[in-house]
């Protein structure tokens, strides 16, 4: 792999290799000295055109634990307002000898565009409403661990329900692509106004009936719903949204025993997820965050660390 732009570019072999190596990386996390020499002398620039403390910090820690020099560039407010094009911004940094850009951008396709311009390798840390591949990988990693804890291996036959604002979510696109690779079965649940056009051809089940899905789901992944969507006419009121699509206490009780609860964060407690669900014993929300570092270490190592050249 030269870049990681989206789960659309991954093969099942790539994905499994990343997840497997992440397990080794997670061992480092529990050591008192959290440092591997793998990426010593490599320079990784985290360039974030949109705020995300969680993702940026996770990538920064991942890079540092692999001994890379990681630099954070906050480019929020976008280069356009400064009159500079994205291409010029990136070429300028590229010219400084950066090895890898970890890029977050509010526009779909920005990471792919950057990859076509620069010499450095590129990791997409979320582009607009398109993809967020490391989030999907860390979700898969978390789920895999959860299934193992129940004594079951693999994704085959597992039902993953993703619920909420699918239209504006990059997480859902990456998750559907990745689960299709890994053999999981995705069920998308949303009000019809928050479904992407053409979703019926994504190779997964689509429904607006959350309650019908509850007893079958092995994982319920709740997506953040933004209040602005209400003003946009996507749904009438927060109350109605919660009634139809929130993981309420009642729905929590209707879940299949052992079903895991995921949320890519940040959560709107009381809207798409009740506090009872967020803090439930089977909530994997904090596991997701912890897995994030290991998965990103694995991704960075796959892209930058391999000597075999197969990865470049």
């Amino acid at each position: 792999m030269r870049h990681l732009l989206g789960c659309a570019d991954l093969s099942a072999t790539d994905a499994n290799a990343i997840l497997d190596l992440a397990e080794e990386m997670q061992q480092v996390q529990s050591r008192p000295v959290k440092k591997l020499p793998a990426l010593r002398g490599r320079t990784i620039v985290n360039i974030f055109f949109e705020d995300s403390t969680r993702t940026r910090t996770s990538f920064e820690i991942a890079g540092k634990w692999l001994s890379a020099d990681t630099i954070n560039v906050s480019a929020k407010g976008s280069s356009v307002s400064k009159g500079e094009s994205l291409r010029d911004t990136m070429l300028t940094l590229d010219a400084m000898g950066v090895d890898c850009f970890v890029i977050r951008h509010p526009s779909s396709g920005a990471a792919a565009q950057v990859a076509s311009w620069v010499r450095a390798q590129v990791v997409n840390a979320g582009d607009g409403q398109h993809e967020h591949p490391t989030q999907a990988l860390l979700d898969a990693y978390t789920m895999r661990k959860h299934f193992r804890s129940l004594g079951r291996e693999g994704f085959a036959g597992k039902k993953i329900a993703i619920v909420g604002d699918l239209l504006h979510s990059r997480v859902v696109r990456s998750n559907v692509l990745l689960q299709n690779l890994l053999g999981g079965e995705v069920v998308l649940v949303a009000p019809p106004t928050l479904l992407p056009t053409g979703v019926e051809n994504w190779g997964c089940q689509v429904t607006s009936d959350f309650d019908a899905v509850l007893p079958e789901a092995d994982i319920v992944m709740m997506l953040r719903v933004q209040r602005e969507r209400m003003a946009g006419g996507y749904f009438p009121t927060e109350r109605e949204y919660t009634a139809g699509y929130g993981l309420t206490e009642e729905r929590l009780r209707a879940l299949k025993p052992g079903a895991g609860i995921c949320h890519p964060g940040p959560m709107n407690r009381g809207v798409e997820i009740s506090s009872a669900a967020a803090d439930a014993a089977n909530s994997l929300v904090l596991d997701q965050v912890a897995s994030g570092v290991a998965v990103r270490m694995s991704v960075l190592y796959h892209l930058l660390g391999s000597d075999e050249g197969a990865m470049r």
Partner: protein, 422 residues
């Protein structure tokens, strides 16, 4: 300048000599023995092409295009007349602004420059621009358009259509419901927009405005022209309206005749255009409509942009692509070479009808003795890979770069003067 063109074939198949003298076509028998000659055996001679929809960017964005460079590109494409759209900076919404662009055309143009006036002041969609003053000016404006922006206020659109009747003007509408396809819409709403995560531009955002406008044209008995039709739904409405006798005409761009949505999957902003590239079903409907006359003309929507305005993320980059130089090539490729259209029909769609709609005297005329010497010599079989770097335009946003296409234009003559030669 005088020139005797020998043995050219006209669109109807007749082989003839053409004698260009003092800007008109004179009797070839009257050409003196020593006159300069051009052997046109194997070439077609057709009337100079006329574009109803060109962005020349002057005044305001001379780094992207000027009247000089844009009309040079037009001549390279076989055009002898272009209509310069009003969305310059400042906007062409007064008689003075219209006369300025017109004068630039007369002074620096490599083809005739007709001025399109704005429908509303500053293209703001709120108050009518000085339509009558522009019509009465030296620029003799007859086509009015807020192109790039839709006149979305129904009442204002009604008033504009009513007002221009006084001087037989035409309102050319950029049909885009601003709520259904908002300012960020940049990809045909489809499986592609869903997968790519690009804000969708549903085809109905075009057709609902087309439907409204044909009703308003019927109400006012005035002329409405639908710019760059891109959807099958719009075509159906126009077909129906024409059957009812509504004064509606329409144009198709070369890119909507050839290119389709999957091209944006690379996020290459060269392929960002408004309305967006549609799926193949829509492309097919546009081709069919151009063949059967539901769509009356080819309009290029030549939209040059400087590199810095395209080097942005897809949703932010400016929409638009070049069109003048490859327009004829594209129409030959998708319409003539597929047997969907014959040459006389092509001449109507690209020359005589646009000249008539824009009420341009001396353009789109048959190649006959006494007519103005506006013509283009065409090699219908030549092909070449398009090279964006070889463009006469100041911009390089050419969506055909690298594509093998016809390379038809051998020479262009405007007012009897050679404006392009291969």
């Amino acid at each position: 300048m005088s020139l005797l063109i020998n043995g050219a074939r006209l669109a109807d198949g007749t082989i003839t000599d053409l004698y260009l003298k003092d800007g008109v076509l004179a009797d070839p028998a009257s050409a003196p023995a020593g006159v300069e000659r051009f052997d046109a055996a194997g070439l077609l001679a057709i009337p100079g092409l006329v574009d109803l929809h060109t962005h020349l960017r002057q005044p305001g964005r001379e780094d992207a295009e000027t009247v000089d460079s844009g009309t040079d590109a037009a001549a390279r494409g076989g055009f002898t007349c272009v209509h310069a759209m009003a969305n310059t900076s400042p906007v062409t919404d007064t008689a003075e602004a219209a006369e300025y662009v017109h004068a630039l055309g007369e002074r620096e143009g490599h083809c005739q420059v007709q001025v399109v006036g704005a429908v509303t002041k500053g293209l703001a969609g709120e108050e009518l621009a000085e339509l009558g003053m522009m019509a009465d000016s030296k620029a003799k404006v007859r086509v009015f358009s807020d192109d790039g922006k839709c006149v979305s206020d129904s009442l204002l659109m009604r008033r504009a259509l009513t007002y221009v009747k006084a001087f037989d003007g035409m309102v050319a509408q950029h049909s885009q419901d601003p709520r259904l396809a908002g300012s960020t819409a940049c990809c045909h709403e489809s499986e592609w927009s869903g997968r790519l995560g690009l804000p969708g531009w549903p085809s109905q955002a075009e057709s609902v405005i087309v439907a409204r406008d044909v009703e308003l044209a019927a109400l006012t008995d005035s002329r409405v022209h639908v710019c760059h039709v891109s959807t099958a739904e719009s075509v159906e409405i126009i077909r129906w309206a024409k059957k009812r006798g509504v004064k509606v005409t329409a144009e198709a761009t070369p890119h909507h005749l050839l290119l389709d949505t999957p091209l944006v999957a690379s996020y290459d902003t060269t392929f960002k255009v408004n309305p967006p590239l549609r799926t193949s079903e829509h492309v097919e409907a546009i081709r069919e409509a151009l063949a059967d006359g539901t769509i009356d003309v080819v309009g290029t929507d030549h939209a040059p942009h400087a590199r810095q305005d395209k080097d942005h993320p897809f949703d932010i980059a400016l929409p638009g692509m070049l069109g003048l130089e490859q327009a004829l090539a594209v129409v030959i490729e998708v319409m003539i070479n597929t047997g969907r259209m014959d040459w006389p029909t092509l001449v109507q769609r690209m020359s005589s009808t646009p000249a008539a709609l824009g009420q341009v005297p001396g353009q789109g005329r048959p190649l006959a003795i006494g007519e103005p010497a506006n013509l283009v010599l065409v090699d219908p079989t030549a092909r070449a890979a398009v090279d964006a770097a070889a463009s006469k335009s100041r911009s390089r946003n050419n969506p055909y770069h690298g594509r093998d296409l016809p390379d038809p234009v051998v020479a262009t003559y405007w007012r009897g003067r050679q404006t392009y030669s291969r």
